[in-house]
């Protein structure tokens, strides 16, 4: 059993935000709060595979270098028609848009899950 599976089995889900999900897919992984291209480069070097990135707005276009490697994206503003949602769909990863997270830095490096709900809604959970 891989570490992620064992963590998932024992973990409890704590809901931290709701939003609109760009694809009807669940994603789980370590969250990284990214605000600059420099942080994107750092994550690329470190290994972006399977990470979930949290960004401030749906106009964020500097994620291109790592989009194909990510498990998912969480965005504080924006919706399904935002460029970020359209581009992440092309890379077949879900983006949870318009989450209105007030202290994004508190979620950095936490293990999280994006889960689709009814209609176009989705929820962000922290696994504890």
């Amino acid at each position: 059993m891989c570490p992620a599976e064992s963590l998932r089995k024992d973990a409890t889900l704590k809901e931290v935000a709701r939003g609109l999900i760009s694809l009807n897919l669940t994603a789980e992984g370590e969250l990284r709060y990214i605000t600059t291209m420099k942080e994107v480069i750092q994550l690329l070097k470190e290994g972006a595979e399977g990470k979930i990135v949290l960004v401030n707005d749906g106009g964020t276009t500097f994620l291109a270098p790592i989009l194909s490697k990510l498990a998912g994206v969480v965005c504080i503003t924006g919706a399904l028609g935002s460029h970020l949602a359209i581009v992440t769909r092309e890379f077949e990863i879900p983006a949870l848009m318009g989450t209105k997270i007030e202290k994004p830095e508190d979620l950095d490096k936490k293990h999280v899950m994006i889960k689709p709900e009814e209609g176009a809604a989705g929820t962000l959970f922290v696994l504890e």
């Binding site: 480069i41 707005d57 924006g78 935002s82 581009v87 318009g98």
Partner: protein, 316 residues
């Protein structure tokens, strides 16, 4: 080099790009689009061909897989374009195009990308190149044509193209100059539900003012899901619509949306029905589900700003 939008042929994609050609198809089918003209991709190719350093830089981008090197090459390419002087004959043709569409326009013009790989069935290129809004003067329009060319060499655009395995030498950029529409409400409509890939549903985002606040993801718009047959609303989510984009000289600006406008939906049932009905007609005419940018003028008329195939419905 310049072609009035209505005179472009629907198969002119290599010359005028995906965005222009899709708009022209809609115009010929009777949908309302903003007046405008295209600066053909030939002008872009001539610019690239005339700059040896730019050609060499783009060749290096195509040969490199090192992200940090690509960032440096992007900066070099952008600097070369910034220093490029648009030839006088092209300035003069843009000027003529401007004169042709400037009659009675008081809201200025938008300058937008229409790359030959853009808005196709596989590649949206969404948000990768720059658009410039509310431009009033010829000189600003000419400068922004160059800025749009430059933006295809931005870090984000180059990396997007690399991840899609598109060589830089294959990319040609036409530029659209169109009248600004002082929209009361703007939005994006997917004529299939892109979340669950249900082609019997329509998904609409809408907000007050110009559409750049929505597509750039600065705000959370209203979201609606409708069934197509018969047309009926199945879900409504009120967006926060924190800001509203309005036209100013040479730019759009974000202002706070008055509280009472945030708390009501930007589209009523009749408007929703009308927009969705047009979406169904456009999908039928374009022969596949579409991602459509639209706006509503102060007189209530619906204008189609862009239509492109939804790129993601075939994904698992």
């Amino acid at each position: 080099m310049i072609q009035i939008l209505e005179e472009i042929q629907p198969d002119d994609i290599e010359v005028h790009g995906g965005k222009a050609v899709n708009l022209v198809k809609l115009h010929h089918l009777g949908f309302i689009i903003p007046k405008g003209f295209s600066v053909s991709s030939t002008a872009f190719v001539q610019m690239v061909e005339s700059c040896r350093q730019l050609k060499d830089t783009l060749q290096s981008v195509d040969e490199s897989d090192e992200f940090e090197e690509i960032l440096k090459l992007s900066e070099i390419a952008q600097n070369v374009v910034a220093g490029y002087r648009i030839p006088e004959y092209l300035e003069s043709e843009i000027s003529e195009g401007f004169d042709h569409i400037s009659e009675s326009n008081v809201h200025g013009f938008a300058v937008r990308s229409s790359a030959t790989i853009e808005d196709s069935r596989d590649i949206s290129f969404a948000g990768q190149a720059e658009s410039f809004l509310c431009l009033k003067d010829k000189s600003d329009i000419i400068e922004c044509v160059k800025n749009v060319w430059q933006s295809i060499f931005s870090e984000r655009a180059i990396v997007y193209l690399k991840t899609k395995n598109i060589p830089m030498k294959q990319v040609k950029m036409a530029v659209l100059v169109q009248e600004m529409i002082p929209a009361d409400v703007s939005g994006v409509m997917f004529t299939a539900n892109v979340v669950n890939k249900n082609t019997d549903e329509i998904l609409i985002n809408a907000t007050w003012g110009l559409g750049d606040a929505l597509v750039s993801g600065k705000i959370v718009p209203d979201t609606y899901i409708l069934k197509k047959y018969p047309l009926s609303v199945v879900q409504r989510e009120l967006g926060r619509k924190e800001f509203k984009s309005i036209p100013e000289t040479n730019r759009s600006v974000m202002i706070d949306t008055p509280r009472e406008r945030r708390e009501i939906f930007s589209l009523d049932d009749q408007m929703l029905h009308d927009i969705a009905e047009i979406g169904v007609k456009i999908e039928e005419a374009m022969e596949c589900p579409q991602d459509i940018e639209w706006c509503i003028k102060p007189d209530g008329g619906l204008v189609i700003l862009q239509s492109r195939p939804i790129t993601t419905l075939s994904a698992p």
